[in-house]
Symmetry: C2
Subunit: 146 residues, 2 copies
């Protein structure tokens, strides 16, 4: 295995997971506290996928901490492959939820002016949650490209 | 290079690109003919991304035909890498457009019952275009996994 930034079992891997966990939690809290977010499928799906994302990041962060405390390197291909597949599945899930919610938010804000017509729709809160979700799910591929 | 289904310059690669081109064209024609699709950002973005997708599939299909007619194998890493990167960029673009449009369509159909209230909204046509777009953009990764 070559040195890859954010690799499981390393300090950079732990930092990546902690940051990802923080963004996913912030996105979930923002959308869960937004008015009527449960009534719109895209926002409900976003909340659910962010819950999965923070759970996944938490598990990987725990594995990183165990490896770092025990001074053990995670080199076996089997757990690394399982983590990679899990990262892909959770990532695609989160990315699709973020884009679907972005589509609905743009519909409210730009296409129909619903945000002005119905002030109870907290469009800024929907937007913030979508941005936080994009950061949470795009962090690992962005790091791997660099 | 190992034998991969849908590899550039092979018969299966050409079939993949022709099928992808057909689905992207069908999706573009469906959304372009749907009522007011240009007024909704998600559907406009879907049409634009399907145009890019069919253009990309057409270029790769032409390269495949040239290779097959000249009986030449495409083995150099440089054009293969360029095609892979292009495939990723166009694929992510199409996938995000398809999910954003799916979010908007579900909002019309399920969340608000707009499709029943406003019969001029051709929700079935939006839905068909989204499904065709998903097939067009998910075909290459699905083939590579198998």
């Amino acid at each position: 295995m070559t040195a890859v930034v954010g690799r499981p079992g390393t300090g950079s891997g732990l930092t990546l997971r902690v940051v990802q966990f923080a963004f996913a939690t912030a996105s979930l809290v923002t959308i869960a506290n937004a008015y009527a977010s449960g009534s719109y499928s895209a926002f409900f799906y976003l909340g659910f996928s962010m819950f999965l994302q923070l759970l996944w990041s938490f598990i990987l962060a725990c594995i990183d901490i165990i490896c770092l405390l025990g001074n053990a390197e995670l080199n076996e291909p089997c757990p690394i492959s399982a983590m990679l597949v899990g990262d892909w599945v959770v990532g695609i899930f989160s990315f699709s939820a973020a884009t679907a919610s972005a589509g609905t938010t743009i519909f409210f804000k730009k296409d129909t002016q619903y945000c002005t017509a119905f002030p109870q729709l907290v469009c800024d809160q929907y937007e913030q949650s979508v941005i936080l979700a994009f950061v949470a799910c795009l962090l690992p591929p962005f790091l791997k490209v660099n």
